[in-house]
């Protein structure tokens, strides 16, 4: 190996590889499978190495790597699922904004999702996260689990900061809704009375 290539490799190892744990964490949350996460991270890092000469030295390396990781994920690991998820995302956006805002305050007062989280097993929480459409999931993972700034997330997801904010907002709302649903299923909370009132009772009609 030439001295120049050796220097290139050394630089990659010193600047990019320290982000391996973050990449693995994000990869695991995206794929929810250790084998897939390892493959994904490895593919993304090899790609990053090939395109290391295009990396702007004064920019944020973590965001650059995560962009490659999320693109790799969306392009290859998701290919077969993609069409279905786009549809699901459209439906989910609709649901996420329907009526949730109105109840939000009262629900937050009586039954904070945070407290619900304490009672739930990690597996349920991971499932709820997994149920989010990929764009929402990526935004929530990068912000809440990895602590990236909105600007870093925007760089990684190649979208404006405003889009990051709306994905985060909707992603979190959907997640809370999903968790609430699990909590009802598990008997951790009772289904809210308001919902019961809204149920159509056929016997009332037949009276």
């Amino acid at each position: 190996m030439s001295a120049r290539k050796k220097a290139n490799r050394n630089e990659f190892e010193q600047v990019a590889l320290p982000h391996l744990d973050v990449m693995y964490g994000v990869g695991y949350r995206l794929t929810r499978n250790r084998g897939d996460a390892e493959d994904l991270v490895q593919d993304a890092l090899v790609r990053a190495y090939r395109f290391w000469h295009t990396f702007q030295r004064d920019s944020n390396c973590k965001a650059w790597l995560l962009k490659i990781l999320t693109n790799t994920f969306l392009n290859s690991y998701q290919k077969h699922k993609r069409g279905r998820e786009v549809l699901a995302a459209a439906a989910a956006e609709q649901q996420a904004t329907d009526g949730v805002l109105l109840q939000e305050r009262s629900r937050a007062q009586q039954d904070p999702e945070g407290a619900l989280l304490d009672k739930m097993v990690s597996d349920d929480v991971a499932s709820a996260l997994e149920s989010l459409p990929p764009d929402f999931r990526i935004a929530v993972v990068l912000c809440d689990l990895e602590g990236l700034s909105y600007k870093e997330i925007a760089d990684a997801m190649d979208c404006p900061v405003g889009t990051v904010m709306s994905r985060l907002y909707r992603g979190r709302r959907l997640l809370q809704k999903q968790l609430y649903g699990y909590a009802v299923e598990r008997g951790i909370v009772k289904a809210n009375d308001v919902e019961d009132d809204n149920m159509i009772n056929l016997s009332d009609y037949r009276k």
């Binding site: 693995y24 695991y28 392009n75 945070g114 929480v125 991971a126 689990l145 904010m165």
Partner: protein, 270 residues
């Protein structure tokens, strides 16, 4: 203009995510301090964020992933030495996937024998078909002698337990029958061995060599009177050889030298 409760609701996320400057926070801080309802709301949202992170905390990347990445980068460097101009031009990110898929392993058999193993479609079997990241549960465990009898029955060729020296402390962990594309039935035996103090996995796949396809390899070595073909890809090393019409593929996430040592140990103890 003073902030309203609606403003708090609207901006609670960027507020908690640390997106506001000190000056921008001032008004929100003031409102939240004064308004019980908003204070409760903000603290619930903060609690959600904190607990979510706790619930989904992850261990760091596994050590064998690190070593596999080092190997994969070595392969990249080696591939670049062969074709120095290959990656000189930047490609748009969207073409990376296609480009990666198009890279074929360099095929070279020094003696000109190309293991004439083309399948009907003319597509070479990628050594990575022998890697399975979603191993089905082990079907059989127990004493290797009994297990190998069961496997022999299913694959129709002798399945001998590894004979490697005890130095590497190789032990059998389980086996199953695999159905790989291009192959009828393959006996898959899982072992663990000690590689300089590190516990690593070795997979030995055994099959009827008449059903082999083109195994792409980067080099060939003569070990104990047999031609052994080696390749490495995506951080895994592969060794392929045939012994009495039985095909063997050894796969492990160690470097080729270490794998060659295991193969040598196996073949000299047979």
């Amino acid at each position: 203009m003073a902030l309203t409760c609606n403003d708090v609701q609207k901006f609670v996320h960027p507020y908690l995510d640390g997106e506001f400057t000190e000056a921008e926070r001032g008004e929100l801080d003031y409102h939240v301090a004064e308004c019980d309802q908003c204070r409760t709301y903000v603290s619930h949202e903060r609690g959600f964020k904190v607990r979510l992170r706790d619930k989904l905390a992850l261990p760091p990347a596994p050590a064998d992933l690190r070593s596999r990445i080092t190997l994969a980068l070595n392969e990249e460097d080696a591939a670049n030495d062969e074709q120095p101009s290959r990656w000189q031009h930047a490609l748009p990110i969207t073409s990376i996937v296609a480009a990666a898929a198009a890279i074929a392993l360099f095929v070279a058999f020094p003696n000109g024998r190309t293991l004439e193993l083309h399948d009907t479609a003319g597509v070479d079997v990628d050594p990575t078909v022998f890697v399975d990241n979603h191993p089905a549960p082990v079907e059989v465990t127990g004493p290797i002698q009994r297990v190998s009898k069961e496997l022999e029955h299913q694959v129709g060729v002798p399945v001998r337990p590894l004979q490697v020296s005890t130095k590497q402390n190789v032990h059998f962990t389980g086996a199953r029958i695999n159905r790989l594309s291009g192959f009828d039935r393959v006996a898959r035996l899982e072992y663990e061995f000690d590689n300089r103090g590190k516990q690593q996995q070795l997979t030995v796949q055994v099959f009827d060599a008449s059903q082999r396809r083109n195994i792409k390899a980067t080099h060939r070595r003569r070990i104990a009177g047999l031609d052994v073909y080696f390749a490495s890809r995506r951080g895994y090393s592969f060794a392929y050889f045939e012994d009495n019409a039985v095909g063997y593929v050894f796969t492990s996430d160690v470097d080729i030298e270490t794998l060659a040592e295991l193969v040598r140990s196996e073949l000299t103890h047979r």
